[in-house]
Amino acid sequence: MSKNVTDATFADEVLNSDKTVLVDFWAEWCGPCRAVSPILDQIGIEHADKIEVVKLNVDDNPQMAAKYQITSIPAMKVYRGGEVVKTVIGAKPKPALEADLAEFLA
């Protein structure tokens, strides 16, 4: 299970991280989010040396969801050096997600 980040910890754990961080914006009531969550966990474990996968619950953390203009979940944003370098929207099978994220996993 990937680490949870919050509005309060976002700067430390995501923006100021020296790693590449994938944030999974999700919510309890979003079925596709629950479906894609274990796949993202797997990608985080399999590529632990390349990317850190974390989760942000949009219900509990409205500030970051608003700041990054989330209007559709699951939304997966990759951060490097405090900047969004990739956005993937919608639940996809693992091979499709791996293809979308290929440049960060290799």
């Binding site: 919510a27 009531w29 979003c30 079925g31 596709p32 989010c33 479906a35 894609v36 796949i39 949009v58 219900d59 969801a65 203009q69 989330i70 209007t71 559709s72 979940i73 939304a75 929207i89 919608g90 639940a91 996809k92 099978p93 693992k94 091979p95």
Partner: protein, 315 residues
């Protein structure tokens, strides 16, 4: 080798699994990796499934389907079918993981996929104000102005759901008559936040980083107007998911899988179809479940009639 593989995990697939498992066929059900449970996973209250007089949430109903299928010995795999070979007596099903499963019979119950509008701006703004899932994305349109395109039950349901968040919800419909059931129409009519825009089609979706407006065309006088919006929810129906069987199973003019009369028998012996993938008309959870039953019983009869040497399942 297995007796039976079921592809799909909506009401049709799971009901077929319940019947097949109770018939001791030990079915393998390929549920999909991210869409397990099918279309009802994205709905809220299901009020027309018999046996639940107080209604039941779509995801909760599908969880019960799954539990009931598993209880009688269905094996469920959360993966996608990427290739299907039904040319011989032994059917081969290739999964996303690369694993290949073989069975003497297959039930194809892949349902249908949301239809797109096919207009400019739709793909670019998809996920940035254009959505197919009100229950997923409605939350982000608090105090905003949104529209739902469509005139069926799902359009009415989405519009009514969206009024929990949005200040204003338009329903854009291409004609003057709605396809939705009376009760769903009434609920939308009675909602002060909902306004109907009849005889209008969406021509174009505009916006920079997210949806800002849509261009509507009046189907009667052809006049184009602009409607400012923050979000557009598309609920104009769906198309049967037949991509795995193109050129392998006969299809109908509607694009659904052809079956023989009231049976579930497709054009290929040993391949049965169930649910929305063969149904261009009714498309209800309960009709899909009934159709799953038909497919399981047909598959059971087919397997029972096969020569003994074929049906022997090696340990």
């Amino acid at each position: 080798m297995r007796q039976l593989i079921i592809i799909g995990s909506g009401p049709a697939g799971y009901t077929a699994a319940i019947y097949a498992a109770r018939a001791k066929l030990a079915p393998l059900l390929i549920a999909s990796s991210v869409q397990a449970g099918g279309e009802l996973m994205n709905t809220t209250d299901v009020e027309n499934y018999p046996g639940f007089p107080d209604g039941i949430m779509g995801p909760d109903l599908m969880e019960k389907f799954r539990a009931q299928a598993e209880k009688f010995g269905t094996e469920i795999v959360l993966d996608d079918v990427v290739d299907l070979d039904v040319s011989g007596p032994v059917k081969k099903v290739t999964l996303g993981s690369g694993r290949v499963e073989e069975a003497l019979a297959v039930i194809y119950a892949t349902g249908s996929a949301y239809r797109k509008l096919g207009v400019e701006g739709e793909d670019r703004l998809s996920g940035y104000g254009v959505s197919w899932c009100a229950t997923c994305d409605g939350f982000f349109f608090r105090e905003k102005k949104v529209a739902v395109v469509g005139g069926g039950d799902s359009a009415m349901e989405e519009a009514t759901f969206l009024t929990k968040f949005a200040d204003k919800v338009y329903i854009i419909h291409r004609s003057e008559t709605l396809r939705a059931s009376e009760i769903m129409q009434e609920r939308a009519f009675d909602n002060p936040k909902i306004e109907f825009l009849y005889n209008k089609t969406v021509e174009k979706i505009e916006g920079g980083a997210s949806v800002a407006s849509v261009t509507l065309r009046d189907t009667v006088d052809g006049i184009q107007t602009t409607l400012d919006l923050d979000g557009l929810f598309v609920a104009i129906g769906s198309d049967p998911r037949t991509h795995l069987v193109h050129g392998k199973l006969e299809l109908t003019q509607d694009g659904t899988v052809w079956v023989d009369g009231r049976s579930s028998r497709t054009s290929v012996p040993g391949v049965f179809a169930a649910g929305d993938v063969l149904d261009p008309i009714y498309r209800q959870a309960v009709t899909a479940a009934g159709s799953g039953t038909v497919a399981a019983l047909d598959a059971e009869h087919y397997l029972a009639a096969l020569p003994k040497n074929l049906t022997t399942v090696p340990a």
